[in-house]
Amino acid sequence: MGQNRTVEILVGLFMGLGIVALLVLAFYVGNLSSYNNDTGYHLEARFDEIGGLKVRAPVTMAGVQIGRVTAVYLDNLEYRAIVEMKIDPEKLSLQRVTETGEQPLNQDGDPMLIPCGEGAPAGSEIALFPECATVLYEDAAASILTAGMLGEQYIGLEPGGGAMVFLLPGDEIRMTQSSIALEQVIGQFLFNQVDKEN
């Protein structure tokens, strides 16, 4: 019986070790943890050139990852690349805006953030837009950036601020900057050097 118990304990340890290894593979080595937030809202953007941008490339703002690219395809009318991305609302939240799509203001005239799902604060008489909007302004910009010289490509978002109106989920980000091909940069640099010397 004693021997039996050792066998059972060792087998249990083995199974446990194996399952831990599978979990480490899934969550620590791999990126399964980035899959579980399937709730997110979409945005899209058109680029003249996306370079090496791939599906599941990260979408960042100020260096913080806020979402992933979900689809890349070609607009057959304009010959531009359409990039769809999904943004995690926990990282870049949704908010309520006024009927004109602007930031609601409090009594003092300061802008305030009403999270999606809540109503206007008691006492104020702001008429809110029925749907939730993003916290990105209409003139938000998306650019394709490269991590390091040879690293992978990702999308960087900037919130904008020149416009008063916010983007709704599913809207297109109009201001875009395409990926910069290294060959072009080097080419331009050499060209300028030659120009200077002349």
Partner: protein, 258 residues
């Protein structure tokens, strides 16, 4: 003329063996259902198949990872991309080396032991004795071993892979001075759960199935003499290894190919 005839005969015997192997597989799969009521049988086999293979898997995993780290560093440092070492180590282990090397080690360690055990049981009339006691030896002896092998292989491959990654980490970060954060973050960004890890796990499941099947069949089909058992054991290692490499190519082509 005689040579052609001999060739044909040989071909027939190959097909016959294949057919016997299939029937054997069906038979042992038929015995799976009855194992639900007797998990103790499987636990005992998990011990001899899984736990006994653990040492070789652990040691080999760490060393393979360390070698990958060293070799990868030497190549990547020329491009100034040594931060990608984590990606290199993890991807090569997760996709290929983990499942394949673990399966080869498993075939050598557990597969040959299974063949020898069952072959000897046959040679010493233990299987026939069971039959005469109205106990189906395939269900009683073979099925639990098959299930144990089928469960163990993916776990062993996962342990191998994880230890390999840590072996690579040990060489890269403390010894070669690769940045700690870059090692992990690049790895996590580039190793995809579905494309890489799940496919690796599928590979190891397939290998576990094939290697255990071959090992058990070779033992069960062995000529019941000492020479027959030793031949069967050799055949297990050779055939199982070839099968692993062959299936690896097919699976890689299916998963990562165009």
């Amino acid at each position: 003329m005689e040579r052609i005839q001999q060739l044909l005969l040989q071909l027939f015997s190959v097909f016959r063996r294949l057919g016997r192997g299939q029937l054997f597989l069906l038979h042992l799969l038929g015995g799976m259902a009855s194992l639900i009521t007797r998990p103790g049988l499987v636990v005992r086999q998990l011990y001899s198949v899984g736990v006994h293979s653990l040492v070789i898997i652990v040691v080999s995993g760490i060393f393979v990872g360390m070698v990958l780290g060293l070799q990868g560093y030497n190549t990547l440092v020329d491009f100034g991309a040594e931060e990608s070492l984590g990606v290199l180590v993890a991807l090569s282990l997760v996709r290929e080396l983990g499942p394949v090397v673990a399966a080869l080690l498993y075939a050598g360690r557990a597969g040959s032991a299974l063949t020898a055990e069952i072959g000897l049981m046959k040679a010493t009339e233990q299987l026939s004795g069971m039959e005469m006691m109205a106990v189906d030896p395939v269900r009683r002896i073979v099925s639990p071993r098959f299930l144990a092998g089928f469960i163990s292989m993916p776990l062993l491959a996962a342990i191998f892979t994880v230890l390999g990654v840590f072996g690579g980490y040990f060489v890269a970060v403390p010894l070669l001075g690769v940045d700690d954060g870059a090692f992990w973050s690049q790895m996590q960004a580039r190793v995809d759960f579905y494309d890489d890890i799940l496919n690796g796990i599928i590979k190891s499941v397939v290998f576990g199935f094939v290697v255990t099947w071959i090992a058990l069949f070779e033992g069960y089909d062995a000529t019941p003499t000492s020479e027959g058992v030793s031949r069967a054991t050799t055949r297990t290692v050779v055939h199982a290894s070839l099968a692993v490499l062959g299936f690896d190519f097919i699976l890689t082509a299916l998963m990562f190919g165009a």
